[in-house]
């Protein structure tokens, strides 16, 4: 190690009122630093009531100017709170902001320890570590990259639609990609929305139409993103536009093809398996876009080679059996993921008999059942298609808050259950039971709705249902579904015979969430929901700059929250677009080609595709714009050829020795 020039370090110990000074002897710490760390380069050590106050900052700025400080250590709170503050202060005084180091003696010392002496000693060690570290800090410059003003929104549910509209209305172009033939998502399947009970379609379809006709929105339905590369500001996205076998330019959406198509299949998607559709179809009347798609798996022509009824009858000759999947490449600056949720598969809770007992329905099935546009035109009937139930049991938390399935609360099921109760009551006059663990109606006007449903005479049983069976024990149970449940309020076992059971099934991450996450370079929580950058302060951003998550893709939530998130993400996107360029944290890894032996050990380590190997020169290179700064490759390089700014080996080793007070020992030990 060659001798480097002596840095001039200033140490500033904050009292934070009594938050720190109450436990840590800040004066002692400051004096100790001045005295013991002098040889390290500490030329001044001060303590002050509130370093983060403007006066405190001025103190630092003044010293930088007058004492010619080249490094600054502030012993105060967590860097997550005030690192920026002091970096800016340094910058104002002409010192590179990255030459400032925060030593957390509040969150890590005064707030968590009780013995003053011990706390003070620890504070000294922490300061010592920070001093040793800051000396090794290097001046860094933020990296600026330009932002492509176009945005990709993946998922055409209400969250995605909202997000797309906000950005489009601000005058920027949006590509809205939807996997299904039409946008609308789950909300389009619902009949009513809680707690206001306004018709789901009535409030959704105008938005769908707006999105479908907006000059700034390119709508790509029946399409899926298949590849993503690049980084914030300039993502390159490949989208697979699946063959519709319908020429969009010629199709008028008249629906004759669908009418004439002889092939009837169960609609597993839009009708939740409760109704039928044709082999060529538009999922529902208000579909956007309204031209149909042909389902190759079921189309008689594709299966048997004859039929072509749709082609014969199409007035505009829009049917094209030779249409091929199409790959579309676009460049965008930001990406919003609104990929939504899957409904929990209630067949997994076999003791509730769904799939075995005909008159057990899932929430989504019931939505279709009660929907005027649904298979029964809104008549709430049993699976025989005609009998109206006289008694209905609604079971909450199916697949949620259950360690056998999902531990989390699916948020919407309580209100959904209440909504169902109201609808059943209103349309059939049947006796309705709600079986719940806890009633969760925390949101504007939600609990009022609960009160209303109570007053309507719905019966509530607090307890987790043990089983739903058709094995009658008594005469009154014959031919009914019996709900076996412990009534925890009356501490009684009850057997309640009903005609129909509705399972308020939970929400689950999309079955392909993990792969999708990988493709976009974001991670999933253990539950499988996409992980936000910060659970509270940054709920729509992700760890990958330029990628945002909204709606149920991020976690179970109701329509208002989904819409709010859609808008929130748009605001974040617009902020980036309007800045025209984005500054990236200069915490990056880089390869010293002199030392790189091309062993390729690091090549498999980067999940952000920042590492590339040059066969010709047999060296590895790291793309700074793609690098997220985790430092895994730095730690992995067996030749020590990769170094990382902000968290270099020198910095961390120095901090280790500092924390262990090694730096107090005579030099050349």
């Amino acid at each position: 190690m060659s001798e480097k020039k002596q840095e001039r370090v200033g140490v500033y110990v904050c009292h934070c009122g009594s938050n720190i000074a109450g436990i840590v002897d800040v004066v002692d710490v400051a004096n100790w630093a001045a005295e013991k760390l002098g040889r390290q380069g500490v030329v001044i050590a001060r303590e002050y009531k509130f370093m983060c106050s403007s006066l405190g900052q001025e103190l630092i700025e003044k010293d930088i100017k007058e004492l010619g400080l080249t490094r600054v250590v502030v012993a105060a709170c967590s860097p997550h709170l005030h690192e920026k503050t002091f970096r800016i202060a340094a910058q104002n005084a002409g010192l590179n902001p990255y030459l400032v180091e925060l030593a957390s003696i509040r969150e890590q010392v005064s707030w968590v320890h009780t013995d003053k002496a011990v706390a003070t000693e620890k504070a000294k060690a922490v300061v010592s570590g920070a001093v040793s570290r800051v000396i090794e800090n290097a001046p860094l410059e933020e990296i600026k990259v330009p932002i492509n003003p176009n945005t990709l929104v993946v998922g055409g549910g209400i969250a995605g639609i909202q997000s797309a509209l906000e950005i489009a209305n601000a005058g920027f172009h949006v590509y809205l990609v939807e996997r299904e033939p039409s946008i609308g998502g789950h909300m389009a399947q619902f009949d009513k929305t809680f707690p206001t009970l306004d018709c789901s379609a009535c409030i959704l379809t105008p938005r769908m139409v707006e999105a479908g006709t907006h000059p700034n929105i390119t709508l790509l339905t029946w399409s899926e993103v298949v590849n993503v590369s690049g980084y914030v500001g300039s993502f390159h996205v490949t989208i697979k536009k699946k063959a519709r076998f319908v020429k969009e330019d010629l199709c008028t959406g008249c629906g004759i093809c669908e009418e004439k198509c002889p092939k009837k299949v169960i609609d597993e998607v839009f009708e939740a398996g409760l109704g039928y559709r044709k082999a060529v179809y538009t999922p529902f009347a208000q579909a956007v876009p309204n031209y149909p798609v042909m389902d190759k798996e079921n189309c008689t022509y594709f299966l048997k080679g004859t039929c072509k009824a749709c082609e014969k009858f199409c007035p505009t000759g829009a049917i094209d059996f030779n249409q091929q999947d199409e790959m579309i490449n676009i460049d965008v600056g930001n990406i919003v993921l609104a990929t939504g949720y899957d409904l929990f598969d209630a067949r997994r809770v076999s003791n509730y008999g769904y799939g075995r007992l005909p008159n057990v329905f899932t929430s989504l099935e019931f939505e279709r059942l009660s929907n005027a546009a649904g298979p029964t035109s809104g008549n709430i009937v049993l699976r025989d298609g005609k009998t109206t139930p006289k008694s209905v049991g609604i079971i909450h938390c199916v697949g949620s808050r259950d360690k056998n399935f999902n531990n989390y609360c699916s948020v919407i099921c309580c209100m959904q259950g209440l909504k169902f109760a109201h609808l059943v009551h209103e349309r059939t006059g049947a006796t309705v039971y709600n079986f719940y663990i806890d009633m969760r109606t925390a949101y504007k006007a939600y609990d009022e709705f609960y009160q209303r449903v109570l007053e309507e005479g719905t019966l509530f049983v607090r307890g987790k249902v043990a089983e739903v069976t058709n094995a009658a024990r008594y005469e009154r149970e014959k031919g009914k579904l019996i709900i076996q449940v412990e009534d925890t309020l009356a501490s009684k076992q009850r057997r309640i015979p009903v005609d129909m059971v509705i399972l308020s099934s939970g929400l689950q991450p999309r079955r392909d969430a993990k792969e999708v996450g990988k493709m976009f370079g974001i991670s999933c929580s253990t539950d499988g929901w996409f992980t936000e950058k910060h659970p509270k302060l940054d709920p729509v951003a992700t760890m990958t700059e330029g990628i945002y998550i909204v709606g149920c893709a991020q976690g179970p939530k109701d329509i208002p929250s989904s819409v709010a998130q859609g808008a929130a993400a748009s605001a974040r996107v617009l902020d980036k677009i309007l800045q025209k360029e984005v500054a990236l944290e200069p915490i990056k890894a880089s390869v010293n080609e002199e030392l790189c032996s091309g062993c390729r050990i690091c090549n498999g380590l980067c999940p952000f595709f920042a590492i590339t190997f040059h066969e010709d020169r047999m060296v590895t290179e790291i793309n700074p714009a793609l690098c997220q700064g985790c430092g895994t490759c730095v730690a992995a390089c067996p030749a020590g050829a990769i170094s990382g700014t902000g968290f270099s080996n020198e910095q961390i080793i120095a901090q280790i020795d500092g924390l262990l007070l090694k730096n107090l020992e005579p030099v050349g030990d």
């Binding site: 030392l595 790189c596 032996s597 062993c599 390729r600 498999g604 067996p638 030749a639 020590g640």
Partner: protein
């Protein structure tokens, strides 16, 4: 300052095997240049000389000393300090002096055990458990043998070192090159590199000189080379699951072992600026493991039967931890 005008040259072996000497002689006629340009004043292997002669020399009167072998006893230490005093340039020559090498592996055991192993295990016929004594009275007087130190130390842990020349032994072509350089220097035709430089080696690692093809490595199983048949002659050994130390070992040997079909065992030590050689190998091997479940990872790691020996074969004494805890703890 010299008797015959020629600068003085010395070479010494401490705890080493003598291979370094042979490597020097292996430079063939190049050795004549040494004789032609230097006055060899001290070289126990090659010529007769007494310590007192060296002690008598003027401080700094030897231009350059190639010191091979680690410091294992008080004699080694004494001579190391002596030659430091007498030499202008002290070169830590070979793996033993640089990082402890194979003798350094003795740092895994307490001295007592080492002596015991040497003097009373089945490999030794020592029915009366007779052990070496530091001092022993014989009719002729009192005999002395050097005292062992707790652990073996590389040269620079005992004295200040000017240059390092790694390798077990250093490759003869590298030695020749260094000799050439020295001669050029004394004839004023070249500059000496800055103090502390590693000479006679590259800056990168063995892979840099290895011609085997490499891809992204995903290892499901580590195997010892003898358990693989046949070993792919052109593919990276590590990719074949053979723990090859090449990725972390300093270049300069022209990747002899991997080229000959054997894995690198790391005799050239760490690459430029590396603090702990073993750490680099730990991360190299673990980075290529293709598993996330602890149990599965452990199963894969079982394929490396002696991890400590694997990553510290040559570097133990020069590593951050230097030795096994027991070697330190041993009380006298």
């Amino acid at each position: 300052m010299t008797t015959n005008g020629k600068p003085r040259f010395a070479m010494y072996w401490a705890a080493s095997c003598g291979g370094c000497e042979i490597a020097v002689l292996n430079t063939h006629e190049k050795i004549l240049d040494v004789d032609a340009n230097f006055e060899v004043v001290f070289w126990p292997v090659a010529m007769d000389a007494k310590y007192k002669d060296v002690e008598a020399m003027e401080d700094g009167s030897i231009l350059i000393t190639l010191f091979n072998g680690g410091i294992r006893n008080d004699e080694n230490e004494h001579i190391a300090k002596l030659l430091r005093k007498k030499s202008k340039f002290l070169v830590s020559f070979g793996s033993c002096a640089c990082e402890g090498c194979i003798p350094g592996l003795a740092n895994l055991s307490p001295v007592g055990e080492i002596v015991h192993t040497a003097f009373s295990t089945i490999t030794t016929d020592n029915p009366h458990e007779i052990y070496p004594r530091v001092s022993f009275d014989v009719p002729e007087g009192e005999l002395h043998i050097p005292k062992l130190s707790k652990i073996l130390r590389p040269l620079d842990q005992v004295v200040d070192v000017d240059y390092y020349m790694p390798g077990c032994p250093p490759e003869s072509h590298q030695i020749a090159a260094v000799i050439d350089l020295l001669i050029q220097v004394i004839n004023g035709k070249a500059e000496l590199p800055p103090k502390g430089t590693v000479i006679g080696a590259g800056h990168s690692t063995v892979c840099d000189e290895c011609t085997r093809t490499r891809n992204v490595k995903l290892i499901k199983e580590f195997k010892r080379i003898q358990d693989i048949a046949p070993v792919d002659p052109t593919l990276c050994l590590l990719e074949q699951g053979i723990p090859c130390n090449g990725p972390a070992t300093r270049s300069g040997c022209t990747a002899r072992c991997p080229q000959a079909g054997a894995q690198c065992i790391g005799c050239y030590g760490p690459a430029e600026g590396v603090m702990d050689y073993g750490a680099r190998l730990i991360t190299a091997f673990s980075s290529v493991i293709d598993a996330n479940e602890p149990a599965e990872i452990e199963k894969i790691l079982d394929g490396i039967p002696d991890p400590t020996g694997q990553v510290y074969r040559f570097n133990l004494a020069g590593s951050l931890l230097k030795a096994n805890a027991n070697a330190f703890k041993l009380k006298e």
